[in-house]
Symmetry: C2
Subunit: 338 residues, 2 copies
């Protein structure tokens, strides 16, 4: 039988309200030092833990945030989660993690409706559709979207996608490439457009022509990356380098390149956006542009908390720290100057 507040109060010889005041850390609790002492001692001795349900029922909040992600198995998302958890912990919240797939719209409604969680952080798909996003938006559900800015929704955070793509592209240009392709995301995915824009801007700025056929938009999965490179290699005129908009896709690009007998970086340089440990163990190791995922996680939580407090929240672009080029083995100067 777990210890309750009244057990503690009894042992300390005080009322439950006194015990509550002390133990729930109400800053305004004006309590005689020795009473406080006795209560704290009793709680310690009894190993008291405040019952979650009692507290939640009384306060009408759970101090739990849900984080919904498209896919757990992405190394990229690990750093984001760390940011979320750091911030959540700082504010006394717990994080409940769920896959979008498992959590569908109905589950979100349940989580909120039953009072299990106070708010939702939704990492919108790097790799595909988001089930029922509309359903969520309709309801008066406290949601903050991560990794996408929703114009009709207050509260979202996004990465510096265009900047990162610009940096990646410039890296290839600096190496001397002039024939540069883009392995992009589905047009339905928020990040696809700014990443493509960054690529186009860097090319334009360098005065490089862009071939339409060198841009693919199949998506962010490894298989879609494979498909993209197969497409590019079926062309008569091929690029000597590609910017890949997503790490998973880049893994597919590398795999397909190998299957095609195409050597990286000698025949094709590959640079990708987003960084994670998996990029170090590909063959060759991937040159990437690291993105501020941790910061995005933190900021997302802060935004959500503001929103829960009734504040008007914005849609914010994470700029600090900026995207950073991480040079590994998948990029090199083009073999033959053209």
């Amino acid at each position: 039988m777990p210890t309750t507040l009244s057990d503690v109060a009894a042992r300390a010889g005080v009322s439950t309200s006194a015990a509550s005041r002390v133990l729930s850390g109400a800053p305004s609790a004006r309590v005689r030092p020795d009473t406080r002492e006795r209560i704290e001692a009793a709680a310690r001795e009894l190993g008291y833990r405040p019952n979650f349900a009692g507290r939640a029922l009384r306060l009408a909040r759970s101090d739990v945030l849900a984080m919904v992600v498209p896919e757990l198995t992405s190394a990229v998302f690990s750093e984001l989660l760390r940011g979320v958890e750091d911030a959540a912990r700082d504010h006394g919240y717990l994080v409940l993690l769920g896959r979008a797939e498992d959590i569908g719209g109905e589950m979100i409604a349940r989580l909120i409706g039953e009072g299990r969680v106070d708010g939702i952080l939704w990492q919108t798909g790097e790799d595909g559709e988001d089930p029922d996003r509309a359903a969520v938006q309709e309801q008066r559900t406290p949601v903050v979207f991560m990794n996408s800015i929703e114009d009709d929704h207050a509260g979202s955070v996004a990465l510096p996608n265009a900047d990162a793509a610009r940096i990646a592209t410039r890296h290839l240009l600096d190496l001397g490439h002039t024939s540069i392709g883009l392995v992009g995301g589905l047009e339905t995915v928020y990040t696809a457009a700014p990443r493509e824009t960054g690529y186009l801007e860097a090319m334009a700025h360098a005065g490089m022509p862009v071939r339409r056929s060198w841009t693919t938009r199949y998506g962010y999965s490894a298989d879609q990356g494979r498909r993209a490179i197969r497409k590019l290699w079926s062309l008569k005129r091929r690029p000597t380098a590609v910017v890949v908009a997503n790490l998973n896709a880049a893994i597919g690009v590398l795999a397909e390149a190998r299957d095609l007998g195409l050597s990286v970086p000698e025949e094709l340089s590959v640079v990708t956006l987003l960084d994670a440990w998996t990029a170090e163990h590909t063959s060759p190791a991937l040159t990437t542009v690291r993105m501020p995922l941790h910061a995005m996680g933190r900021r997302g939580v802060e935004l959500l908390l503001d929103k829960l407090n009734g504040a008007d929240v914005d849609n914010v672009l994470i700029t600090e720290p900026g995207p950073e080029l991480v040079i590994r083995g998948s990029t090199a100067a083009p073999r033959t100057k053209e």
Copy 2:
């Protein structure tokens, strides 16, 4: 303001107890059909959701299970989670996911002590130490360990590690290899021993000599896999094939092989235990032995639920479905017969 049970009762013109009986689906609820009808209609119209805290407080349980994993970013674990979630859903439970790192011993105590979760599924480390496992075992915490059998603990599930290693080894033997090494796990990790045993048994059964120096035990991470292959390649006499005890380590093995200029499978065949999508996108694609992760997840939940119901639970080895060889590109016959 969310709808409560008494809102529903009022609208249906019944007492809250009647409403509760109907809505909480008590099978013994003997209610006049038309009353039931009215209550259900009212609930539907009002969009009623039972408040989680009220329910948990009254029933002294949360219907939430926590699953603790060493690392989210392992593709391997994704299938396990799916098994867990399938089973949990079937039994009306929600799954709270946490990383061991974040969830340390204190957090577990909190989760249980505060009544936030009813029990814990602990996926013990494929890659390293488990913080505070002892602390958990001491407390009267309903925990089921997954992926390891703890002799002094009631309730754990494990994979057919020895069988899988035997199958992997036999595959290499069948291809004609006679010089076969093992890239194994740390001795502190439960799975390391049975996997090594399976390897040794298969070798013994085939009458093949085993060289001590061909077995490494650095661990299951990609970096440790790299280290293992570096060690093996520093030897005067080298194996022509290796069984790798873990998929992540195998990814490291492949990466390091490439850095060493060693071609797979021509100069070295690599087969690994555990399968996941990442195995399809390495260069070359990895030959693996698929393990019944989904079944282990399901079984773990069932065990935990039994335990919560006060049953005496066993330590179970998952045998159904059995391990299965998935041949891809990383294994081939040895180049030169020896």
